[in-house]
Structure formats: C-alpha cells, structure tokens
Symmetry: C2
Subunit: 203 residues, 2 copies
DNA sequence: AGATTTACATACAGACATGTATGTAAATCT
DNA sequence: AGATTTACATACATGTCTGTATGTAAATCT
C-alpha cells in the first residue's frame, strides 16, 4: 500500500486510539478484537499492529491520550482546602463535560480486567494513587499549619481517606446512570467532604 | 455417564462454583474459558453447562456463594456510629481472613468487565449500594437524634460520602499489595472516618 | 419392577481472534 | 536520483472458545 506522510500516519494512529477507546467502552477491553477497532478506524489490523505491539499497548495509548483527571498544580488560588476542593470538583466536572475522559474512565473502572499484561496497568493506577496521596497530604499539612484545619488532623491519614472517597466517588459516579446514588449531589458531596476538614465545622 | 445422587450433584455444583471463583481471580472473567473451570473442578464442560446457562450465570452463582460483605443488622450493640464503625471494620476484616470473600471481591472489583450480559450485574451492585445508603442514612439519622452527631449533619448526604469512602476503600485495599497505600492503616482510616461524624471531633 | 429423569461425558460444528510473514508504493533520506 | 524506509494491506497458519446435540447408566419416581 501507498506509504503515508508522517503527519498522516500520526492521524491514523490517533484515529485508532480514539476508536479503540470507543469500542473498549462499548464492548469491554477483553471482548474487543483488534479487527473491530481497525474497522471502526477505517484501517486493517495491519495498521493497528504497526502502531501498537498488542492490545495492552493500545490500551496504554488510550490512557495517555486522555491523560490524568486531576491536576492540583492547576489550582493556585485560595487556601489549601479550597484548592483541594477545586481540584476534586474539576475532576468530576471533566467527566461530565469531556466525553473522551468519560469513556476512558468508564473503561478503566468498569470495563477492564487487570490480569496478565494488564496487571502492570493496575500498578500504574496505584502509582497515581501514591502521587495523589503525596499531593493531598501536603495540602492538609498546609491547612494545619495555616490553622484552617484542626491541629490534631493527621495529614497522611486524612489524605488516605480522601483518596478512598475520591476513588469510590469516581467509580460510583460512572455507574450511577439514574443519578440517584451520587451523580445528582456530587458537588455537595465534595464540598461536604472537604468542609469536614475545616476547623469550624460548617456542614 | 452414571447418574449422580442429588447430594453428589450438589457437591459437583459447589465445586464448579468454587473453582470458577479461583480461576476468575487468576485469569479474569472474560479470559476464563469454561473448559478451564471444568478441568479444575474435575468435570467436563457438560457438567458446567448442565448446572449453569453460561458464564454470566456461573458468575452470579459465585457472588451468591460468597454473599454480601456487609451486614449492619449483625451489630446491635453500641450507639449508631459505633455500629456503623463495627460494620465497616467487620467487612474489611472479612477480606483479610476469608480467602473466598477476598477472591470474590477481587474478581468483582478488578477482574470483571461489566458489559453485555454482565451489565445487569453492575445494576445489582448499584442496588446493593442503594441498600447500603438506606441503612447508613438511618444510622446517621439516629446519631443526629441521639445528639451523637451534629444537628446540621445531613444524614442522606453523609451516607453517600460514607458509601464513596467504603467503595474506594474496598477497591484500593484489594489493589494495595504493598500495603503502603491503605492496607496498613485500614482500621484507623475507618475509625477516623466515623469519628469525623461525631459531635466532639476527636481525631 | 418398570418407566422416566437426571447428571453428566462425548462429539460436533462453527465462529472468531491472534500474531506473523510478506508484499508494495510512496515518503523520506543522502 | 537512487537507495532505503515507512505505513500500511493482504494472506496465512493456528489455536481457542462457545453452544448444542446426542449418548448413557444409574437415581428416582410410581
């Protein structure tokens, strides 16, 4: 077949990743055949195998294309607890407004089996959790130093609780199609969670 | 083949379910072939198809064999918040001491894709979440009435936060093989979470 | 005791997925 | 401008899984 331009090839690769995400979210990662992905992207399996070693490699590309939901570094205004809340709210907002992020996280949290080649991906997720812990611990630490949180608050422990809350929230939010379980009240949920850390309990 | 006694057949069925759980947790649900399960159980696929319609049906049996992790009804001593904490602690304790429960939840939370026939299973999980919400809401309601929790605590919202915390905790606990993320401090985590609801903040 | 199920094992038929090997024409390199 | 890659498409070889149909001897029913 006629060779494509570098730019064209990059587009092809991108189309494959995009289609893979969609097919993954429809049919689940394991049930997805690379043939299906290829067809959806208007290429053959040859193209897929040229750009990616195997399905696990493609899956990693899907994750990278979407990137991470949560970037506390993006929030520099307000006190530590305000920045924490902003970060969490922004993450959940993105799920609502960004179809791509929605699909990717649907796949990661509900449509993927972390076994075999995918076991290492789970390690990645846990690494991301560690990063989250580090950042949130620092935020709580700052909150304590600034007297916004009670002095007896253990930043590391509180951060772990927040991590659990966040992980569960993401997972339940995605599954809560009716909206009654958590979707309808995400904002208040997050606000409440963070408010619970403040020195003057307001909620 | 020689027909088995009803009792023998029940044992066979049970062996199949047990082996299915183990294979599922090793290889993931989708990657598991019924042939593998059958071999492990010392039977052929004929037996598996005799007892179960298909893999999804078998998966449901695996869930039923283990049952639910959390039964607040089991705890009748102490105030509402103490009962809440006891329930949560007991659930996580079970994961530590009950290999079967461990495997089942590993499968449900990390080794299963909720797609196609399994989509309805996810509905079931959300129904269980609703039940959890009902029970915990009632506990918080009682805590408020008994002045153990602040009057401005919204039981329904607090219950949702606890649900998220619990869901995330389960998921992270299972993946935290090194223990550094949450496993080492589950007890304090749960204690802290519940203590955060008490009128006199202690943590 | 005979008729009927039951609890499987065996056999069959077909679909589907994977990885690799090979071909090729145009981009890109020199 | 020629040599070399590149970006795929095509073809091949193979393994695997599913669902069902059929067989059968012993339990269970009547």
């Amino acid at each position: 077949m006629a060779r494509k331009t570098k730019a064209e090839a990059a587009l092809t690769r991108d189309r494959i990743v995009t289609c893979a995400r969609q097919v993954f979210s429809r049919e689940g990662v394991t049930n997805t055949s690379l043939e299906t992905v290829a067809k959806e992207a208007g290429v053959t399996r040859g193209a897929v195998y040229w750009h990616f070693r195997d399905k696990a490699d493609l899956f990693i590309a899907v994750r990278q294309q979407t990137g991470t939901l949560l970037r506390f570094a993006d929030f520099r205004t307000g006190d530590a607890l305000e920045r924490l809340e902003s970060g969490l709210q922004a993450a959940l907002d993105r799920l609502r407004t960004d179809q791509q992020a929605l699909e990717t996280y649907e796949v990661m949290l509900w449509k993927c089996e972390y076994v075999g080649a995918f076991a290492s991906v789970r390690q990645d997720l846990m690494s991301a959790s560690s990063l989250f812990l580090t950042e949130v611990t620092e935020l709580y630490d700052e909150a304590v130093r600034m007297k916004q949180a009670p002095a007896n608050l253990d930043p590391a422990l509180a951060a772990r609780e927040t991590l659990c809350f966040y992980a569960g929230l993401l997972k339940l939010w995605l599954a809560d199609e009716t909206g009654v379980t958590v979707r309808a009240e995400v904002r208040q949920l997050i606000a409440r969670h963070v408010a619970g850390r403040r020195l003057q309990k307001a909620v």
